[in-house]
């Protein structure tokens, strides 16, 4: 009885995740290809043309320094974008009702959408990594740190995208957060520079930016150097996951944005 119930839940979760993966896979030209192209452009322009004049950053070739940041940038934006647009369009086209009438608990709805977001984040992350191989050799200092940081970061932004999707009432409202919050924080999160270059005041301010910790921990996983303590980074990422999950669950339980 108990196991069959678990089996049913597993089937439901797999159904949602598979559906989410098929959704972005069907439109890969819009979802997977663009970040590959932008990353290639960043690497050619910043890494190659400008980077050769910058010299070293934290003891690495500028090109090698920005690769981890660019991978994270792609993972973050794509994890977020996948969930926010999928959830919002399921409200817009009303097929969120398919889930609402079914006995799938809200926890599984969250896990399912987040699973889809992480799948897209990782797919794009891998695609971008492959692109970067043409510019910079891939060295992995610690597989465990690299993989865990990228997956956990992807979960954070998939959850954030879900929350945005729940509240959004128009297509405008699904692009406000990425444009005005996510992109600036990512760019200021040490994708293109080491925060140790900043004056003290700006360094302290930067430490309020959660993305800084994610990029830094990821860079540690690949290169083996970091500006911040690894433990702090993990704690912050995990704290965000717990908080965002609880918030997402609360708003889904209340039916915000979906049940009148």
């Amino acid at each position: 009885m108990k196991t069959s119930h678990l089996q049913e839940q597993w089937t439901a979760l797999r159904t949602i995740v598979t559906k989410e993966i098929l959704r972005f896979a069907r439109i890969w030209v819009q979802t997977v290809l663009p970040p590959m192209i932008t990353t290639a452009l960043y690497l050619v322009i910043f890494g190659g043309l400008i980077g050769s004049r910058i010299g070293e950053m934290d003891g690495y070739r500028y090109m090698d320094f920005i690769v981890p940041g660019l991978i994270m940038l792609a993972v973050i934006t794509n994890s977020y974008a996948n969930v926010v647009s999928s959830f919002f369009s399921s409200k817009f086209q009303r097929h969120i009702e398919e889930l609402m009438v079914s006995p799938v608990p809200n926890t599984l709805i969250i896990l399912g959408f987040v699973g889809g977001g992480v799948a897209r984040g990782l797919t794009v992350g891998i695609a971008v990594t492959i692109v970067s191989l043409f510019f910079s050799p891939l060295s992995v200092h610690s597989v465990a740190v690299t993989v865990s940081v990228v997956v956990l970061t992807s979960v954070v932004f998939a959850l954030a995208g879900l929350i945005n999707g729940v509240f959004a009432r128009s297509f405008d409202e699904i692009s406000i957060m990425p444009t005005f919050v996510l992109t600036p924080l990512t760019y200021l999160g040490g994708v293109f520079y080491s925060v140790s270059l900043l004056p003290d005041f700006w360094q302290s301010l930067s430490q309020l930016n959660p993305i800084l910790y994610m990029v830094d921990a990821f860079r540690y996983g690949l290169l083996g150097t970091s500006d911040l303590a690894l433990g702090t980074s993990y704690s912050i990422i995990l704290a965000f996951i717990v908080a965002l999950y609880l918030f997402a669950l609360a708003i889904l339980n209340r039916g915000i944005g979906i049940r009148s």
């Binding site: 949602i16 559906k19 959704r23 369009s89 009702e97 398919e98 009438v101 006995p103 039916g255």
Partner: protein, 316 residues
């Protein structure tokens, strides 16, 4: 004692904008029945269905489905119900087959079994050949049938259809009716909302009429139709009648100064009417039959100046 398929008590719904869409609804649907919820646009049909199917929050009242309380046994309630909403609510960029299979997946039905059932229901509804096509390429009637297949794939005991034949052409409507009748014969309870009177009359054994968020009738189709065993004739008068005579078996109403309506039971002789009119010196110039049957009753029960006649006649 078997539980009713649906039991609603004191159901109220006030939307956020303050609009009171349901003003205390009581409804009981026996298991196995084919039940019609009939009412003009805006009466509260979709609101009621939305609440039963967890798409809309109720303000107060209780809903039980086969004895399971919506507030405490939501999982059982959800498993018991399949719903075909009034508006299309599937992903139009998903293939037809996947829409149905995924729905089965949400109910925990394993993939292989899900495809077997999808094949069965899409087949019955004439859509199996379209299983690989994107849902957006289907015609309106096909989309409606897709939603029926999707609602049945977890084999619910209660099927709820919100205006399933709106915008569906006559021929297709007939075949949909046959399909639903078969489903009902297999033991599934069906609740159907409609504003097509003919549909309710043909399909349903029990009926409730809803208007302005209130149930105005809840009975069997038979007893409702029995009420129609009166016929209404319209009398155009030569001169205004001074006073309307009272009579045991004939009801007279003044429509305006020169027009009367008379309800007489079927089988009663018209001579009685004329004797009555003669006795009171009411001079009749001409007489005609008023269209009768359900619509007549419906209009009488949901009488407001705004919806009177209009909706009903165009719907037919």
């Amino acid at each position: 004692m078997t539980n009713p398929a649906l039991e609603i008590r004191g159901l109220h719904k006030t939307y956020r904008n303050g609009f009171e869409a349901l003003k205390g609804i009581d409804l009981t649907v026996a298991p196995g029945s084919f039940f019609a919820l009939l009412g003009p646009n805006g009466a509260g049909k979709s609101t009621t269905i939305g609440i039963i199917t967890s798409l809309i929050n109720k303000t107060s009242g209780t809903v039980r489905v086969f004895g399971h309380d919506l507030d405490h046994e939501i999982q059982e309630v959800k498993r018991s119900i399949g719903v075909v909403p009034q508006e299309f609510n599937f992903n139009t960029f998903e293939p037809v087959g996947e829409i149905v299979v995924n729905q089965a997946g949400y109910y925990g039905i394993p993939r292989q079994e899900a495809w077997r059932r999808t094949r069965h229901y899409l087949g019955e509804l004439g859509l199996w050949d379209q299983r690989k096509e994107m849902a957006r390429t289907l015609s309106g009637g096909m989309k409606r049938r897709l939603m029926i297949a999707r609602a049945l794939v977890h084999e619910p005991r209660l099927l709820i259809l919100d205006e399933p034949t709106a915008g569906v052409d006559i021929e297709l409507r007939r075949s949909m009716w046959d399909f639903l009748r078969n489903i009902n014969c297999d033991g599934r309870s069906i609740i159907l909302t409609t504003h097509y009177l003919e549909e309710a009359e043909r399909l349903c054994r029990s009926i409730a009429i809803i208007d302005h968020g209130r149930i105005v009738a809840n009975t069997t189709m038979k007893s409702l139709l029995a009420k129609l065993d009166t016929e209404t004739v319209v009398l155009d008068l030569l001169a205004p009648a001074e006073r309307l005579p009272a009579h045991d078996s004939i009801v007279l109403r003044a429509v305006d100064e020169l027009t009367l309506e008379a309800d007489i039971s079927r089988g009663q002789s018209l001579n009685i009417l004329f004797q009555l009119l003669d006795r009171h010196a009411i001079k009749v110039q001409s007489m005609r039959n008023k269209t009768n049957r359900l619509e007549e009753l419906f209009i009488r029960m949901t009488q407001t100046p705004s919806n009177r006649g209009k909706e009903i006649r165009t719907a037919r």
